[in-house]
């Protein structure tokens, strides 16, 4: 498994740990391709990966990986979706190293997208993970 893939898998495992009703996948697909029985659904992918050399660090570098978890729900209330965000963030913060995979993580972004004309809601959670190699 790739370095990025390991982190995505670990983050998605935290999503399921926080809410076992959520189905997950690595990668991004159009909403129309998600079967109705898979809602609520979470898609995990890498938004951006960067690295920088540590000053005075003898070629050590800090790698930063921004993992997006895009939640999609259908027919849930706004409050239910927001509570899931809280629960996932708490699950991530209960193990900020993802079992030693990274040095630290934090939830750096959250973006809900709601459409009153539709029962479908999306919520984007960005988990920024850093490790020194």
């Amino acid at each position: 498994v790739s370095e990025w893939g390991q982190v995505i898998d670990a983050v998605l495992a935290k999503v399921v740990a926080a809410d076992s009703a959520v189905t997950t996948r690595r990668g991004l697909v159009g909403l129309s391709l998600i079967p109705s029985d898979q809602y609520p659904h979470a898609m995990g992918y890498v938004l951006q990966a960067t690295s920088e050399l540590l000053s005075g660090g003898y070629l050590q570098e800090t790698r930063r990986l921004e993992v997006v978890v895009l939640f999609v729900s259908n027919g849930e209330s706004q409050e239910a979706v927001y509570q899931r965000f809280d629960a996932v963030r708490e699950a991530l913060y209960a193990d900020r190293t993802l079992g030693g995979l990274v040095r630290r993580l934090f939830v750096s972004d959250g973006l809900p997208l709601e459409d009153e004309a539709s029962a479908v809601m999306t919520l984007r959670l960005v988990c920024t993970c850093e490790k020194v190699v």
Binding site: L54, S55, G56, G57, Y58, L59, Q60, T62, T97, G100, R103, V132
Partner: protein, 136 residues
């Protein structure tokens, strides 16, 4: 008469016997030539002349030794496995007057060695500065 090069060679040979068997980096000044593998120990050593002292019999070369010990943690989370282990063993030697005096090139220790410690990423450093009077 002991030379600065004698002192450099003797300090390097003595440090190589420390816990972790540190080896000398290619550069004593730069940090951008070599990466240190996890669990690896390295050192940098700079010896400089800073003048002479005399007594009624001899002139003595005075040198300052800057010794930097580097260790990349095998487990970045378990920092103390090193800082309470091999690091303490090596610090005890680096700050021991008798360790410096045991070097053939050293006549006397002019000032007790001073120590600074630091961690950058997964590398833990300690640097020692010793002011020595060389054997005449």
């Amino acid at each position: 008469v002991a030379t600065l090069l004698d002192l450099d060679n003797q300090v390097a040979a003595a440090v190589a016997l420390w816990a972790g068997a540190p080896t000398r980096l290619d550069s004593d000044y730069l940090d951008e030539h070599e990466a240190i593998p996890a669990g690896g120990s390295r050192f940098q050593l700079r010896v400089n002349a800073v003048g002479k002292l005399s007594d009624s019999n001899e002139f003595y070369q005075v040198a300052i030794v800057d010794l930097v010990s580097l260790h990349r943690l095998a487990d970045p989370v378990d920092e103390r496995a090193y800082t309470r282990g091999a690091m303490q063993t090596n610090l005890a030697l680096a700050t021991s007057l008798s360790w410096w005096r045991a070097l053939a090139a050293v006549y006397a220790v002019e000032e007790p060695p001073s120590v600074e410690t630091e961690r950058v990423g997964n590398v833990v450093f300690f640097s020692v500065e010793a002011r020595l009077r060389l054997a005449p």
